[in-house]
């Protein structure tokens, strides 16, 4: 788990990609996409998260247990969001 790691070039590349994606988020927000605005914003944010998790947090070369922990926390977040919203979006249908 220790040792290894990425080269410095990769860290810089990921850092710059993150900044570019951030500028993209801001840029896209100024275009009217209707309901798609939030979808695009969340998609970019999720992609940024994946980059941070895989490279900065080294999950790319971490043990399988770490992958399970990361996936579990997001899976449970989805349970919380989806089941809670399932009530609100089906009210009065």
């Amino acid at each position: 788990m220790t040792g290894g790691g990425f080269s410095r070039r990769i860290y810089y590349a990921v850092g710059i990609t993150l900044l570019v994606l951030f500028l993209l988020t801001v840029g896209v927000a100024y275009i009217d996409l209707g309901a798609l605005n939030i979808v695009v914003a969340m998609a970019i944010a999720t992609f940024k998260t994946i980059l941070v998790v895989l490279y900065f947090m080294h999950v790319r070369y971490s043990s399988r247990v770490t992958w399970v922990f990361v996936s579990a926390s997001f899976f449970w977040l989805v349970i919380l969001l989806v089941l809670t919203l399932s009530d609100y979006v089906t009210r009065g249908v």
């Binding site: 220790t2 850092g15 951030f22 605005n37």
Partner: protein
């Protein structure tokens, strides 16, 4: 006794087991943190679905530029943390100290800017329960409550993060870390990256709801 051996606590067999354990411990804790913020994101999702217009009205009072600067600051700080971990693995403790100090500076910059934003909100009467004079749509208060609670808890995590990084600087100065033993740096880095990820979502959700003309 080798130098790295002295870092092994009695309950562990070797350094590798100890490092795996503390990494996994941090990941387990971060899973908890995901759900802690997750509860707030759920509340956000529900109220944004119910009262979209109020959220649009509320978000018009955000300073998109200050928020953008803060986002950039935090993304940069994540990079400096990653580079710090990289340096300590190569035995470059001077480089580690430099990156840690840079991280702390960026973290403090974030907090100062956040402080300015909060004080503007206070001056404009946008803090529910404390000083709220906005005459907007019916549920606009909810937007600001969630804004203050979510960014407030995030800022609290930032303060803790700055504290942890300061402790890491002190430990580095005392020569505690080496290419073999630098687990506290890695684990603190994981925490810092997590706090950064929370902000990656907070920024578009609060500042960029409807900025297009």
């Amino acid at each position: 006794m080798t130098d790295s051996h002295s870092h092994v606590a009695h309950q562990f067999d070797d350094l590798a087991q100890q490092q795996d354990a503390s990494n996994l411990g941090m990941w387990a804790f971060l899973a908890t943190e995901v759900l802690f913020f997750g509860g707030m994101f759920a509340a956000y999702a529900v109220y944004r679905t119910l009262y979209y217009d109020a959220f649009v009205a509320g978000s018009q009072h955000m300073d998109v530029l200050l928020g953008a600067i803060n986002t950039a600051v935090l993304l940069l700080s994540s990079l400096t943390v990653a580079l710090g971990v990289h340096e300590v693995k190569r035995g470059n403790n001077a480089g580690l100290t430099r990156y840690l100090l840079l991280t702390i500076t960026l973290g403090l910059t974030f907090l100062v800017i956040k402080g300015f934003e909060y004080s503007h909100k206070y001056a404009d009467g946008l803090i529910p329960g404390v000083h709220f004079t906005l005459d907007g749509p019916e549920h606009v208060g909810l937007y600001f409550i969630l804004y203050f609670v979510m960014t407030g808890f995030h800022a609290l995590h930032m303060i803790v993060g700055v504290g942890i990084m300061t402790a890491m600087v002190i430990m580095t100065r005392r020569g505690r870390f080496s290419p073999e033993y630098h687990n506290p740096i890695e684990v603190s880095g994981l925490y810092w990256h997590f706090v950064d990820i929370v902000w990656i979502f907070l920024y578009p959700l609060f500042y960029l709801i409807r900025v297009h003309p």
